[in-house]
Symmetry: none
Subunit: 146 residues, 4 copies
Amino acid sequence: MKQVNTVETIGLDTARTLIDAARREAETRETRMNIAVVSHEGHLIAFEKMDGAWLASIDIAIDKAFTAVSLQTETAGLAEATQPGGSLYGLNTTNDGRLVVFGGGIPLMRDGTVVGAIGVSGSSVENDVAVAQAGADAFSPGGRDR
Amino acid sequence: MKQVNTVETIGLDTARTLIDAARREAETRETRMNIAVVSHEGHLIAFEKMDGAWLASIDIAIDKAFTAVSLQTETAGLAEATQPGGSLYGLNTTNDGRLVVFGGGIPLMRDGTVVGAIGVSGSSVENDVAVAQAGADAFSPGGRDR
Amino acid sequence: MKQVNTVETIGLDTARTLIDAARREAETRETRMNIAVVSHEGHLIAFEKMDGAWLASIDIAIDKAFTAVSLQTETAGLAEATQPGGSLYGLNTTNDGRLVVFGGGIPLMRDGTVVGAIGVSGSSVENDVAVAQAGADAFSPGGRDR
Amino acid sequence: MKQVNTVETIGLDTARTLIDAARREAETRETRMNIAVVSHEGHLIAFEKMDGAWLASIDIAIDKAFTAVSLQTETAGLAEATQPGGSLYGLNTTNDGRLVVFGGGIPLMRDGTVVGAIGVSGSSVENDVAVAQAGADAFSPGGRDR
């Protein structure tokens, strides 16, 4: 009887590589970011807070990564559907308030499956997304799912 | 002196039947759902997470069912009143954030009384509602309260 | 570059099989149990509450399973170390109180790795452990890690 | 009029150095640890989870570091006073359960003042303490407060 499923996730080495890439992009943009990487089921693998980064963004970065894996989507994609009148209005108050519905959380994909996520918070959403994308690109260049 | 009231609720056998019906509808729609059934007082009776279903939807499915019994309504019916300017704006942040204000939670009725609920989460709200309805129909075909 | 790790987890089919086995043992013992199965990273896959089972044990069953995967141990093995004077006294108030330090949570092992867990609550700890073990045996007969 | 105070804290570079030192000690001991470093006000600066480390220890490592700065003490020193009959019995249930009362959290001192802390969890308390000490020694060799 088939009793177990094989799944793929990321490890600490990969998480460190992604955080390094994201931090370099943050420095280029002269921003101070909190950067988090989580496993395919949302547990924190690695985290860094750049000196002077916003304190509230510690939680937000971690929760953006959690959101990206737990809904298998970029958090930026949740903004529209959760607006007043949107089909998922109210989503951000579920899951003990851990779901972040603006940009900066990006799932890491491999063969069409989410294997982890990166979350970034500490500046404008535009900067957050760009820094998270720089981290995600270090995993899967150009956003290609290989 | 009459000191106790008789109430009706559902049991595990019923919950399993409803979940099976909902899961078949989910498979037909090629979706991967989290499906929860709760008692008339909102306690979890049975739950199933289809392989690959969104992790955030575990809580959302359970809380949709909780919302349906605890407000004696379909959760889809809460969307309008909880909009900004609506009479129940802010409802979703009460009860430790457990009230879900979009579709997918449906109360199970018998003789005009709520005896339990089913909650489904894992796809579009439209799919969530249809899968929850398939479960509810297994309890009360056609939505008729018998 | 090696970027992903392969891990094994259990799916819904396995979870249902284990819950069925546990419930049969519960019936043999004329107990009414809450039975939960979680993934290798602690997310709920399936749950059943037998009719009349203790309400508090819903959370306890789920959290026993969470504890078994998150500390990679049988919860019964935590009882001694968390007693007053024990090396882990106070453990049960960490993790938002989700760690259960008495018997009834058993990890599911494959090739030396935890791939999920079962948690049972609803009777004496002795019964809880026996029912959880019946579920675990359905995964790995005789407790052998195959 | 003097209106502000100067305080000392640690930054990301220091946190990374301490985590590296702790991780090397963890590898020497063939353990898999969660390692956290927090600022003088208890906010997370950096965190790493070694592959395969206990999931429950993510929170515990972070909270050990939080405890060490927030009570300005090694967490191992809290074990005795929090026993039944002890002067601080019940301490671990305050602060939303974030205070950990067993070893593995060590404050980082400079000129008699706490400037941060390291927290380690993932093995026996003895190993946790030794790995945390290896991290703290990278900040202040031999435990000397310089």
